[in-house]
């Protein structure tokens, strides 16, 4: 079977993130990394590949060409190849535009299973899969805590506000996994060495059949109007335990009349 994992390169977790006041977009000039939530989705795809013979895992992404660096981590973990839609006209795409481009790229691949991670570490979005599933006209299950593959269907344990559901969907379908679903592997040295040689296709919007006006800011029905500082939080006190921490917590609570 073919599994496509939708992934994204985001600024490195430890890096100071900022929004460019001119373009009102996230500054992506610093170090990048594969979105950590997507790593869980890649891992889940690889675990299925280990169980199901002749499974191909294809990473699908959109972003500037340097996003290939992030994709290589997924390839080093064991994914077979990567597709990156990269086009100057695609920058600044919002949910509607991004889902349009990704759906077109996925239609070319015709995977049986499309996997997403729980959220993007930069935009903090956690909705893209539902838009992509609607465009692909495929069944959707999100917040997967477990995925079992049975014949030509998935059985997913989903966590919601009310507990755990069990949902079944036939392939082909779209599943978004939670970050608690697995502990992702680290790429081996051999994997890292081999990653560069794996197929990595960079496609333009034209290649996937999306017109320039349907992507990027032009194709995005939302906009950023202004940026401002958040309201300040009260002073925060930090202490290191030298044996007196319990007493200091007690004093702090007493001072705030919380006892």
């Amino acid at each position: 079977m073919k599994i496509s994992v939708c992934v994204k390169q985001v600024p490195e977790a430890a890096a100071h993130k900022r929004i460019d006041p001119q373009t009102k977009r996230l500054d992506r000039s610093g170090e990048g990394a594969l979105n950590s939530f997507d790593v869980n989705a890649v891992e889940e795809a690889l675990r299925i590949k280990e169980r199901v013979a002749e499974t191909e895992v294809v990473l699908v992404s959109m972003g500037p060409e340097r996003a290939l660096e992030g994709l290589r981590k997924g390839l080093a973990m064991g994914a077979d190849r990567a597709i990156l839609v990269s086009d100057d006209e695609a920058g600044g795409s919002d949910l509607v535009a991004t889902s349009r481009v990704l759906a077109r790229a996925l239609e070319r691949e015709e995977p049986e299973l499309v996997l997403f991670g729980q959220q993007s570490g930069d935009g903090e979005g956690a909705v893209l899969w539902a838009a992509v599933a609607d465009r692909l006209r495929r069944p959707l299950v999100s917040q997967a805590a477990e995925i079992a593959l049975e014949d030509s269907r998935v059985v997913v344990k989903r966590q919601t506000e009310f507990g755990y559901d069990r949902i079944e969907a036939p392939l082909p379908c779209v599943v978004a996994v939670s970050d608690a679903i697995n502990e992702p592997r680290y790429p081996s040295l051999k994997g890292i060495m081999g990653a560069k040689k794996k197929p990595q296709d960079v496609l333009s919007l034209g290649d996937v059949g999306v017109e320039a006006g349907d992507a990027g800011e032009a194709g995005s029905p939302t906009e950023v109007l202004a940026l401002s500082d958040p309201p300040p939080r009260g002073d925060s006190v930090r202490i290191e335990d030298d044996g007196s921490a319990a007493q200091r917590i007690l004093d702090f609570l007493a001072e705030r009349k919380l006892l």
Partner: protein
């Protein structure tokens, strides 16, 4: 301005998040309607009038019984397209987020998410979204009609201006083939035992840093001494260390106690959104770089296994 609010329900009641969004919509001076989809939902629909809905559209169909998103997109899309709504508002939930994003694709309509506020400026909606781990506030707008908005949990309190019963209008339900292929095999049922953590003034919460499930006993002792309840992160609930009913976070409970003591919790976004409304936050973690310290009033870098039992003793002797 015509506004439609997605009314989510659970076990025969409209959920608080939907009612909060409904109240906010009413406060904008808009012409507000609600939409409820499910099986046997007609009875609860009228009650939305009290929170500001003049009219509630009801899609009552056995195929809508399970809380799955795609059939709800099928219900909302024609209603929004033909009803001339300027905006469709949703309160965050696993279900609502998937419905909102599916609807955005279906209608090619802009969706802004994680909003904490919305206002009308020159006849246009403007949303407020804290971004980059709440380090910057972003004002967002829409170029589409309708404008779709998904609000962060707890952004608005339900307020009942006392509008009386809403007018209920039935919708015909036509579902796409692909929308009905995902099927609920087993639906979650809440297991309520003891007082809910949502009502507690004091919460002592534990995460992976506890090291082992039996270590929750230490937190239970402290919670008892403080007259509070024990909560847990998703990671330890998924690992089976503590019951789901005690989970705080995006897919667990949203709590706002006067005091929240986080023990061995790193502070992932998933957890943060469930407890950021707490009055005072005390965090104990041995990792000085844990994100939890960024939103704590008192951060203690140290070993919780030493600190928590000592604190319990101190609280007990002070109270006796």
């Amino acid at each position: 301005m015509k506004v439609l609010v997605f009314l989510e329900h659970h076990e025969g009641e409209l959920v608080k998040g939907s009612l909060g969004v409904l109240s906010k919509a009413a406060s904008l001076g808009a012409d507000v309607a609600g939409v409820a989809a499910g099986s046997g939902v007609r009875d609860l629909a009228g009650g939305a009038g009290e929170f500001g809905a003049g009219r509630v559209y009801v899609a009552d169909d056995p195929r809508l019984e399970a809380p799955l998103p795609q059939p709800r997109v099928d219900v909302l899309a024609p209603l929004v397209r033909d009803g001339g709504f300027d905006a469709v508002l949703f309160g965050q939930s696993v279900l609502a987020a998937d419905v909102a994003a599916g609807l955005a694709a279906r209608l090619e309509a802009g969706l802004n998410w994680d909003l904490v506020d919305v206002r009308v400026d020159d006849g246009k909606l403007v949303g407020t979204r804290p971004a980059l781990a709440d380090s910057v506030m972003v004002e967002v707008g829409w170029r589409s009609q309708p404008a779709l908005a998904l609000f962060r949990t707890g952004s608005f309190e339900p307020a009942a201006p006392g509008g009386g019963e809403a007018e209920v209008e039935d919708l015909s339900v036509e579902l796409e083939d692909f929308s009905t292929q995902a099927a609920m095999v087993e639906q979650a049922h809440e297991e309520r035992s003891g007082p809910s953590i949502e009502d507690a003034d004091v919460i002592v919460a534990g995460g992976r840093g506890l090291g082992a499930p039996e270590q929750f006993g230490v937190l239970e002792e402290l919670a008892k001494a403080l007259g509070g309840a024990v909560a847990a992160t998703r990671a330890v609930v998924d690992a089976g260390w503590y019951p789901y009913a005690a989970q705080v976070g995006q897919t667990g409970r949203t709590v706002s106690p006067k005091l929240y003591i986080a023990c061995g919790i790193s502070g992932a976004i998933q957890h943060k959104v469930g407890m950021q409304g707490s009055g005072t936050v005390v965090a104990i973690n041995k990792d000085p770089n844990a994100p939890i310290f960024e939103f704590s009033d008192l951060g203690v870098v140290g070993d919780l296994h030493e600190i928590v039992p000592k604190l319990t003793e101190l609280v007990r002797s002070r109270k006796s």
